[in-house]
Amino acid sequence: MTLYPQMLPLFLVTAAAGALIGRMVWRSAGLSGRAGALIVGPAGLLGPLLTMVPLESCTFEPGRDAMDYAVGTVAFFGGAGILITAVAWIGRALSMPGGLSGMDKSDQAGTYRNRPIVPWMLLVPSLVILAIFLYYPLLETLRLSTHLVRRGAPKEPFVCVDNYTALLGPSLEWWLLAAIGGLALTAAATWFSQRSDQDGLSDWPHRWRRMRGLFVILTVLAATASVFGSGYRPVFTTTLILTAGTVLIGLALGLGIAMLVSQPIRGRSIYRTLLIWPYAISPPIAGILFFVMFDPLTGIVGHVYETLTPWDMPNYRTDPTLARAVVIMASVWKTLGFTILFYIAGLQNVSTQMLEAAHMDGANAWQRFRHFILPSLTPITFFLIVTNVTYAFFQVFGTIAYLTRGGPSGATTDAMTSIIDQSRGNIGDGAAGSLVLFAMVLAVTAWQFRATGRRVHYGG
């Protein structure tokens, strides 16, 4: 690795950040802030090497453009962040009595009664499998993403971060400005309503806070979209649309059907079994089924539609909106059984006493649903959001591959599909794309735990 002059201020920044974080963490644990700064500061200085050594600090070479520089800076801070977090976490635990057992929160911490050999031996099989099938492929993907790779080719040249910059192309768009404007307005409104409502009786601060939360999400999404170039931006939007469609429609429909089959009706166990069936079908099979049903020449859906209505059924293979709708339909149908299963289980746990009490107090069916049943189901909903988002990110690909192959004109090319497409020319492009998807999943997971975690209600 070569040291280029532009990197020196960055090293200063990460070292200073490490020292500050160390001081803060150590102090909050009741330890000496200076010791923390001395331990974590060097981590900030050395952390960037985690990414800069494999990259040979190529992004800071003379002659590189601003995009390379930007990606390089992100990688630089990323490396620093990883090492700072690790050192701060482990170092703080070690400098306290109890050693490594202090790594968990105090109420979850534990320690070994004897020597920890047996537990480690029991863990080894899982760790070996994780290492072979998860950690090694992850590192290999990182390596591939900086190379030009083609199966069977005699060479594998290093291409710096070209595979990443190919995805990027930031531009300022009106929708980003609109989102930022909306965020500023709602933030201001929240602030004023809180100030004018000193006694805390009004509903408005609460409502404005919700609006502000919505605009935070919109702004983050718009900002992310505006960073991507013209090639990847539609992929990002498509992924969002397909995910939102699958999760929202799937959960709403699943809950509705679960409520129906939870009613005391004759033969409901048969309905339940039949409803759960689609879950046992693999995503590609769902794709083939819908492909056949919606076939423009011979499909049954077009036939029924044209018999019942005076219009021609548009061809979903050339109509972008319809294509997305059909993909969402197929994946909702596919996940519905799973959603229903969990909602039925959840509904059985809703306290009947509470519902009866509400009934006596004059709450109508909607109010009982909105204020009692829905809040009681939040743990299930949270779990289902996590699993369905994961499904939409990774599994819908199987359906798309057989239903639309990402078409028409990329209208159903989601992140996974685009990774496969890109890997045809250069596997390195696919690797870069899959790391971008990985980052997206990490961000969504973090947001889910933060946002839903606050409102999840586990009873007790």
């Binding site: 069977g152 080719a153 040249p157 004109s409 990329g410 020319g425």
Partner: protein, 457 residues
């Protein structure tokens, strides 16, 4: 009981291990006269090849020939790459014409060339193991395409060219006397057919595959890449914005916008257009001559007449020729002499006049040697089935120029995918052909640059 089960488990595991080891041992020895043939068909064409393999082994009992079918040429090429990287490639591989450059550049696990040019392996012999060498008798169209650096790099087998199929029942109803011979005629014919009261939903269809616009480019003498279409040296620049290229893309868009062209909505979909023609949903079809037998017999079953004619041209443009498509048989390098001779003999056997004629009759691929054409002529095959002659005649019109010979290009399959994607955007979203193809040219160029970076010193 538990002990018995454990014993059975151990025995099964042991049997599996030994079995696997035996399999491995079987395929690794070089001089075993075992010929593995991988081809990209899984239908009646695979059965045909397997029957020929059985006959060959009857004549040459010292050899074993295993023919294995793959879903498509692309799947086959992927499997080939994986196998050769693991040091265990088959003996003969059927690679399609778009992979010609990639096959020439392919290397094995040791970094040496994967395939030996068949002409080099034949080394001037007239017969191998008693099978006459037919390489000198190959028809010109295939010779021009597959002769690279002055010699055949692979053994031609299935060769086709796109031809034009008309539903003659619709033609009569619309009062059209001759099937359209030019793109302008086709539009006029569509004007009439779409006005029929019980006419088809759309007028014409063909797969959204780069092969079709490439034909029109070649007809007009246009080149897809520099270095004379990659035939004077490695192609380095690709051209997807030439007026010859865009003229047909614009025509295609107009035909779609007017509701004349039926797009199945799936890229590189060979079945959709064919089914639309068979179901009389369109009056005209353009597809490979390799489907001629199937298309005509389906029409007979459904009960409408079919005319097969040449691929249309632009009325006032020059004509260079139409391109071939199909695949050739590549011989893996580094085999033992006996295995290599067996493989070469099998290739000659597959293409001897009787077999080449039978292959043509079964499929509609052109008879690949001149003597096969003569044989069919003598049999009176063409008098009974004049439509089967169209492809051969069409290819004979070629002037042999680089434009008509076709392009040799690295990453050609991925580049073709850029073309079909651009066409889909132009049709379904109304993108401007010139602008969209400028974009496609840039992505295709970067694919080609990447490829050339990997395969040149």
């Amino acid at each position: 009981m538990r002990r018995v089960r454990a014993l059975i488990g151990v025995a099964t595991a042991a049997a599996l291990t030994i079995g696997l080891a035996a399999c491995n041992g079987g395929s690794n020895s070089a001089e075993d006269n075992r010929i593995d043939v991988w081809i990209g068909f899984t239908d009646y064409r695979l059965d045909w090849a397997k029957e020929r393999a059985v006959e060959f082994v009857e004549k040459h009992p010292e050899y074993t020939v295993n023919v294995e079918g793959y879903d498509s040429y692309e799947v086959l090429f992927d499997a080939l790459t994986a196998a050769s990287q693991q040091g265990d490639p088959p003996t003969i591989v059927q690679n399609f014409e778009a992979a010609t450059q990639e096959s020439r550049d392919a290397v094995n696990a040791d970094g040496e060339r994967l395939f030996i040019p068949v002409e080099e392996a034949i080394d001037g012999r007239d017969e191998i193991l008693g099978e006459p060498v037919v390489l000198n008798d190959i028809v010109d169209a295939a010779r021009n395409y597959y002769t690279v650096d002055g010699q055949f790099s692979s053994m031609p087998w299935n060769t086709s060219t796109p031809v034009f199929y008309s539903n003659s029942t619709y033609l009569e109803e619309a009062g059209i006397e001759e099937p359209p011979a030019t793109w302008e005629d086709l539009r006029d014919a569509c004007d009439k057919i779409m006005k029929l009261d019980d006419g088809p939903k759309n007028c014409v269809s063909w797969p959204n595959h780069a092969w079709f616009p490439e034909q029109v480019l070649a007809e007009q003498g246009g080149l897809l890449a520099d270095q004379s279409n990659g035939r004077d040296g490695r192609a380095e620049n690709i051209d997807l914005t030439s007026p010859e290229w865009l003229s047909f893309i614009e025509y295609w868009q107009e035909m779609y916008d007017e509701g004349y062209y039926y797009y199945s909505g799936v890229q590189e979909d060979w079945d959709g257009p064919k089914n639309a023609f068979g179901g009389q949903e369109v009056a005209f079809l353009m597809t490979s001559s390799g489907d001629a037998t199937a298309v005509v017999s389906e029409a007979e079953q459904v009960g409408f007449g079919v005319d097969v004619t040449r691929y249309p041209v632009f009325a006032d443009a020059p004509y260079s020729g139409n391109l071939i498509g199909g695949a050739t048989l590549w011989l893996v390098d580094g085999l033992g002499e006996s295995t290599q001779d067996g493989a070469l003999a099998f290739m000659q056997y597959l293409n001897n006049p009787e077999n080449a004629a039978d292959w043509h009759r079964t499929t509609g691929y052109i008879p690949i040697t001149n003597s096969a054409v003569e044989l069919l002529d003598e049999e009176g095959w063409y008098d009974e089935n004049p439509y089967q002659r169209v492809a051969t005649d069409q290819l004979a019109l070629s002037d042999g120029s680089p434009a008509a010979a076709g392009v040799l290009l690295g990453s050609f399959v991925a580049i073709r995918a850029q073309v079909t994607q651009a066409v889909e955007d132009i049709l379904t979203t109304g993108a401007d052909p010139a602008e969209r193809f400028a974009e496609a040219e840039a992505s295709a160029q970067s694919l080609l640059d990447d490829y050339n970076l990997l395969y040149t010193e």
